[in-house]
Symmetry: C2
Subunit: 320 residues, 2 copies
């Protein structure tokens, strides 16, 4: 967020300086005054870098709270680092501000970014802003480090590995619907819980970092079935998921009880930002919940309590 | 450019795999198959990271050649690294594709990116694409390295330093006008030269890397006066630029001869992507052309051949 870039929109310079400079307190960001940020990677660690872009009307609801948008933009990038077993260092931000992104919007956005920074222990390294006649678009690049040689790929799963997740599945997809005003037959508290899981996901940082026996990992952004499928494809194995073993939150369990067809949404919906991993069969790892296994073969099968494959209409998740 | 992110737009998966995977040949990008890229920074070097975003209708002409857009998106980020004295390693790309960005557009964009990669010695590390109802927007984050402790700030200029540039000034701002169809009284060849300087700028990588005596540096993106002003402000010095010493291309010289008021455009226009530096007074550094000096004081003054300050209507550059 070199100042030169920001002054192009009348009055924006002061605003950005006021709201974004405090987020760049890390010395690496050089107070956003230089052309780029500079930092020293810890010796013996590899750098890990990932980029995700969120666009109004595609990745977030047009009238979403800007603080939630900021939180999610950072969280989904940190989730990619978490899936690699990497610890975050910082991030850059490129922000295309639509006509509706006024001063109050930017202030709320910056506050949400600050809350996420504090929650996840990262700092703004730099960025760029521009005005756009189109929808507001937020692009974040997150940078982290991992012990050299210890980044967790998608391609390492082996037959007999246990397939695990880091937390409850389906909250994101159900939460998208409650955030849009659907009740799903839920109490207000349950609906609010799911909405919050959708709007403010928690990247599972630190769960697979440096843990021996984690052969492959991905984050659950496209849906459990689709993301397990990415591991299966990259690893050349089949993944079998036992539907009854997939952990559900009380709220998601209540929603599925009210409408059993929502189980498919739970299994194939996205935006959970839990991790799905393949772990050596003799390993019990804290924070990982077994949901199935890897086998020789290809693709993902979900089986019911009797071991019978369940038909699933969608393999993953497509943005509305 | 994790595959999961790309498959969301019908048919896009194959296209991106075909056009972008070859750009990610570096092992760090892991074939774009993992959640993030991984690379090992050279020991003893600091990491440098910068982000710039280009949006159709703001930073590039709506009907611009997609290959030129790609080139420029990468070049302007590498220019920020160059200004820090950093050598590039790679970059990530976040691409919001507007309705007019069809398969042919993406193919042309990827070809321009490939040409720029080859010219500047970098590789695609990863990225994200999304469809947008708004204008196509390209966000690049470039990563480089610099000898630890040797990053060049904006804030190091001292009184008596020589202010230098790395090449001809004003070609970018004049080239924007020729690219829009103005002749500026120029020959076809001169107009084409200026247009090319605007559409395919060359980042001045390697000029100030590890060179003792370069106290401060910025790239000329907002205009020579504005960017020299950033050094003056950050360093707490005044900068005096001698208009007659500013190097002009033959084409720019011809344009100014035809219309002397264009001299102001040359001095205050942007998009040159040369560097402006403050250098210790006893240093003569290859590739650097003296244009003025730093003094005690504040702000930027441009003086004519008689040492008389010239009035300048604009301090820098605002996007159309």
């Amino acid at each position: 967020m070199a100042q030169k870039r920001i002054a192009r929109r009348s009055g924006e310079f002061d605003l950005i300086a006021r709201f974004f400079k405090p987020l760049a307190a890390d010395a690496a960001a050089r107070g956003l005054d230089d052309d780029a940020a500079v930092f020293d990677p810890p010796p013996g660690r590899s750098l890990v870098v990932t980029t995700d872009m969120l666009s109004a009307g595609v990745h977030f609801l047009p009238r979403a709270d800007p603080a939630d948008i900021a939180w999610k933009a950072l969280a989904v990038n940190l989730s990619d680092l978490a899936a690699m077993g990497a610890a975050p260092v910082g991030y850059t931000l490129a922000l295309a501000l639509g006509d509706d992104a006024d001063d109050a919007w930017i202030a709320a956005f910056a506050s949400g970014l600050g809350a996420a920074q504090a929650a996840f222990g990262v700092a703004l390294l730099g960025g760029d802003t521009t005005a756009t006649p189109g929808p507001t678009t937020v692009s974040v690049t997150a940078i982290g480090t991992v012990e050299a040689g210890c980044a967790v790929p998608r391609s390492g799963a082996r037959p007999r590995d246990i397939v695990c997740v880091t937390g409850t599945i389906g909250d994101g997809a159900l939460g998208l619907r409650t955030a849009q005003g659907e009740t799903l037959g839920l109490s207000h508290a349950d609906a609010a819980y799911l909405s919050a899981r959708y709007t403010r996901p928690t990247p599972r940082l630190g769960v697979v970092d440096g843990v021996a026996g984690v052969h492959a990992c991905a984050d659950v952004s496209d849906g459990l079935v689709a993301d397990a499928g990415h591991i299966a494809d990259a690893s050349g194995v089949a993944v079998v998921i036992e539907a009854a073993a997939v952990p559900l939150s009380d709220a998601a369990r209540a929603a599925v009880a009210a409408d059993p067809t929502l189980l498919e949404t739970v299994l194939t919906g996205g935006d959970d930002y839990e991790l799905v991993c393949a772990v050596a069969p003799d390993m019990m790892i804290e924070g990982l919940i077994p949901v199935g296994r890897a086998e020789a073969g290809a693709g993902v099968t979900v089986v019911d309590a009797d071991g019978i494959p369940m038909p699933l209409g969608r393999a993953g998740w497509t943005h509305r």
